[in-house]
Symmetry: C2
Subunit: 123 residues, 2 copies
Amino acid sequence: PRTLVKDLKGETLILAHPNDAINEVAKKMVQNNINHLPVVDDNNKLLGIVTSWDVANAVARDKNNLTDVMTKKVIIAREEEPVDVIARRIDKNKISGLPIIDKKNQVKGMVTAEDISRLMGGD
Amino acid sequence: PRTLVKDLKGETLILAHPNDAINEVAKKMVQNNINHLPVVDDNNKLLGIVTSWDVANAVARDKNNLTDVMTKKVIIAREEEPVDVIARRIDKNKISGLPIIDKKNQVKGMVTAEDISRLMGGD
Ligand SMILES: C[S@@+](CC[C@H](N)C(=O)[O-])C[C@H]1O[C@@H](n2cnc3c(N)ncnc32)[C@H](O)[C@@H]1O
Ligand SMILES: C[S@@+](CC[C@H](N)C(=O)[O-])C[C@H]1O[C@@H](n2cnc3c(N)ncnc32)[C@H](O)[C@@H]1O
């Protein structure tokens, strides 16, 4: 049977909020060894995504507000989608991670190119 | 036949040098839409690697020198290695990209989790 997104979903979910300072977002990435943070509102609804690439962009262009560097038009994944569909979505959009959301647009997790690459390594 | 690293290797090779400023490194990542830069000496020999995660680390810890944030003990790939071996190396070391080096320790390219994830998407 095909591997689904929900089979890959990790335990931890680290989030950012629109008023977070960029150095706070950077600290969350460093403390959790991750590169992708969904940006959510107070009800855990998806507002955007910020990655370590966006932090590099903030440094390169001397930007200070998270809302200036985060991406608001987010490419997402759903738990029941097969992994090969997500691998093509990653390739087509030249991204490396997708927030997993439910029917109410609430964030459930994150799936990354690293998670999918792991499948190529076999058991 | 098994897919090899050389079958995945991209055309462009963007490099960093140990005296580059962190904001210069960030600019190279942004201009080329990439997250990983091998750090090389004047003879193109590998000295380290710097990623957008390291730029986030520089922001989080207020570091200003590339040599303070780059990783010097680099996990590498070689052109003749099969891709499933690299996928396991990525997983084991919790990294997302490996410089491709030749017998003289010169950098030939970069292979990332995104490149390997693309294979899961099929043709
Ligand atoms: C185009 S990628 C280029 C570098 C590399 N491919 C990567 O994903 O980090 C960097 C940009 O993609 C955006 N991005 C990353 N994941 C995304 C997603 N799931 N939906 C929309 N944009 C995303 C980031 O916010 C960032 O501005
Ligand atoms: C441990 S990873 C954690 C985040 C995520 N897995 C990633 O790869 O970006 C981040 C650190 O790994 C280091 N790193 C990335 N690629 C590497 C490689 N091929 N060899 C050694 N260290 C590497 C970076 O320099 C950075 O300090």
